[in-house]
Structures are given as C-alpha cells and as structure tokens.
Symmetry: C2
Subunit: 194 residues, 2 copies
Amino acid sequence: MIRYPDGREYKNSQTKKTYNKKGSEANRGMNLEDDINASNEWYRDQDVCVITKRPTPINIVKVDYSKGARITDAYFEKQSTTDYNGVYKGRYIDFEAKNTKSRTSFPFANIELHQIEHLERVLRHGGIAFFIIEFELKDEVYLIDAKYIIERYRNGPKKSLSYEEIKEKGILVERSYNPRLKYMDAVEKIYFSE
Amino acid sequence: MIRYPDGREYKNSQTKKTYNKKGSEANRGMNLEDDINASNEWYRDQDVCVITKRPTPINIVKVDYSKGARITDAYFEKQSTTDYNGVYKGRYIDFEAKNTKSRTSFPFANIELHQIEHLERVLRHGGIAFFIIEFELKDEVYLIDAKYIIERYRNGPKKSLSYEEIKEKGILVERSYNPRLKYMDAVEKIYFSE
C-alpha cells in the first residue's frame, strides 16, 4: 500500500472500473474516495453527469529514459484546488470529500485555506460547491453546501462543525449497490428542485 | 528538461505565478500549455473565471518513506479526459489544447478517442466544450467548438482539418501581455453573445 506523507492511502488516479457489476465481488465501503470514484464511474456510464477526480499533483525531479520514461525521483504536491469537479445539467459542480474519525464534530483543521478560497471563487462564478463529509465510525455520509461551511470557517465561533449541525444543515447521502453513494440525489434535492 | 514518453515537455502541474507582472521579464510564447496556464492564473486573479489544468496522472509503484515519502518508481499515465476544465458565468467549460507544426492542417491523429468520448459526454450534459489549436509555425491560435471537430472526427471525410477550415469555423485567439492568450474573449463571443 502506498501512502501520502500525511498517512492517507494513495490511490492511482485512473483505475479499472470499480463499481459493482453482476458477478463481481462486493467491494463496498472500502473508503470514501473509493466510494466516490466508483459512484462517478457509474454516474458517467449511466449518463447522469460527468464528475472526475483531479489526479494527485506530483512534482517530478528525475526521469530515466533508458527504461522508457520511468520516473525515479518525485514527490507529492498539495492539490491547489478541490479533489472533484464536473458537469451536471449544464451546471459546474465542484466539491471536496473529507472524512473524520470523530463521532461528535468535523474539525476545520481538515480543510485547507486554499480549498476554501477555491470554493469561494467557484461560488462567485455561479458554480455549485459543496463538501461530502463522512463520519467513519457512524458510517454516515453527509452532503453540505459550501456556503454554509465557508461562513462558519471564516466567522466561527468554533473551529469545527458539530455532528448535529451537519445532520441538520446537510443531507444524509444514501448508500446503495450502484452507485455506492447516491450523492447526486442530494445535489438534485438541494440545487435543482424548487 | 523532463519529457513524456511521446517527447512532449513535462511541466509540473502547480507552478509559481507565471503571468506577466510589472518588472518581471517577458516570458511570452514559451509554449501553448504555458500560455494557457498563465492566462488561467491571470483570469483567476482578475476574477473572470476559474479554469484549471488537471494534473498529469502518474501511476506510483514505489515510495521511499525513509526519505519523507519520496517517490522512487512511477510512470506517466494517459489523461482519461481533457486537460482543462472549470467554470465561467455558472457554465461548465471543458477543453483540450493541441499544437501542430503543420502549416496546412490539423491531423486528427493528435486527438485521442477517449478525449472525443469525454467531450461528447460533456456536450450531452450541457457543458461548453472546445479545442484550442495552435499552428506553431504561423504563431496563430484558434478556438473551435468541439461539436464541429467531433462531427468531422467521427464522419470524415478526411483524417484532418485544413488550416482554412479552422480559420473559417474557429475564432483567432488574440495574444496580449495579460492574459497571454485572450481565449475567454472567444468563449464569450461563441457561447455567450446573441
């Protein structure tokens, strides 16, 4: 297993189809990123929307051309934006996915300032922006509008959001066989129904 | 200089500000990717739009944790989508940038089938999709709607677009000091004026 410097598991960005197909073994609940990636593949193949994960930026120091352009020295960079973006019904969608092992709150320390700034820009330009937050130990995933999180992040009063607050202001994302996370149902509900 | 297996120059995805600032040395016309990245930074800082380059996907084989998560074996993967996407006036924007050394035509061999398929999906979901094509030896850059290119790519009759055809169907992108490529002017003209 390959890990980032901060301990999170690294996934190669472009993997084989990972959503559940008839006959394949169940692979649900591996982790939030896997679940979102598999859901995005399913949504793409069902022609619901096109949402992709931005590959992890890597700074390359040395390449060995004698081995067919094999990278022999490089290091991870921080994503300067969020992890996911794409299009649904003509609208621009942009979000960040985060998980926490806390049962009681989501600490803002999990969010980088440049991600907040990126989402503020997206909102200024009329895009749809949100967070997907997983409470790992409760096995619950919430979708919550970025405006709400940004307001709290910028103005406090606390350096976290309580579980109750997220439950009240966000929408619980249903799990299913396909897609593993029905988060576009929540998007439809928040941003497209009136 | 680091190169991809196909010989193109590799750029680390997240570089320092590269657009022209007072007092900085002129760095125009380095190459198409540089020009677009610098223009995107300028557009972002001027609050015109948020368009970002997807980092180059890299498949990591080995990481040396004794050196602080240094990647010691990895290789380039092909982008499964296009290189650029983002938001302008609430709409989703997606495009691929290509250059050619030909003076007479743009060969479709420069485009990957999966890029065509990705752009077809984007169009189905109401996004704005185009190509930016540079004729290097003429120092001319055109923005041309993806629908037109896809139609020709899929149905022929030729395996290329002639320079005249691109000149007629596309829009010449003006160069300036900032942004280096005023391609959002062309976007505004094609997709937002009536």
